[in-house]
Symmetry: C2
Amino acid sequence: MISRISMIGLTLVFMAGCRQVTPQGNGGSTGFDLVDSAGNIRKPSGYRDRYQALGAYTVLKSTGNEMHVVYASPGTAEYYRKTGKFADGTVLVKEVFGTDHAPLTTGDAHWASGTKVWFLLIKDVKGRYPGNPLWGDGWGWALFKSDAPNKQVAVDYKKDCFGCHVPAKATDWIYVQGYPVLSPK
Amino acid sequence: MISRISMIGLTLVFMAGCRQVTPQGNGGSTGFDLVDSAGNIRKPSGYRDRYQALGAYTVLKSTGNEMHVVYASPGTAEYYRKTGKFADGTVLVKEVFGTDHAPLTTGDAHWASGTKVWFLLIKDVKGRYPGNPLWGDGWGWALFKSDAPNKQVAVDYKKDCFGCHVPAKATDWIYVQGYPVLSPK
């Protein structure tokens, strides 16, 4: 009996370990692990390894070029391809890098260098935090800057975040055209 | 006894499932599953979901801008951060996209559109295929084009691939500066 119970325990340990890291997980429904009861959002650790990169935008501008790399919680892409939607609890991390560039063998190449800021979104289909100005339009919105990487500094998503997303209203405020992995295969 | 054996079986099934998808796997040592006994290389399926994106280069050129997104087999980044090396069997897939661009809210934004070609590398520390002209300098080298995505078309890595990698000799022929996830944390 003891052996059988220990085997069950072993199985559960492996299941738990699996669940933490699988890219084909449960549609990202664990995003609320990053949120406290008042709706305050923290940034996940290890997202470069544990999350799936959806794609990148390179933005050329006179104030300094940037590369925006977007990571999504495990299962996001698989769920989106099936449904055309982001699952409740999906976490998107947009890491905004400065860039370096050089004439490499392929041409005038631009690549990510130091991180400037992180924008973070958590999909909320239930309107869980109606009194919190960082939640609305189907998402929780957060901003972290490189001088204090774990300090959420956005105050009001409508002022601090939303303006840039308005043109992407038809795709749930997300610029999905830059994310090939979301396209049907 | 039967129950105990079935539990062991169940555990192994979960372990196997885990292993296939974990991004923190065994350093990529399964890359040779993609190679036949003569050294012929095939392209892995599902790498956008199963592999880890290392980073991207946006290349501006008069013949058409490109975005190069590089995906690595599970465990590659973790192993590299620990050792400064790519593990035997590591698979790198460089998907070369054309780009679209538009003045978005962040600036002159460029993003990946249709795939043009895939370059694929498999790390080989043992010199397994000395008579095959697609293996040498510590890697197996392969090229696939979008008109026949599963047909390997490189003939001789020294002519078809290597020239572009020579400037990256000091980092095992890989342009690691564009892959933030490889940097020590």
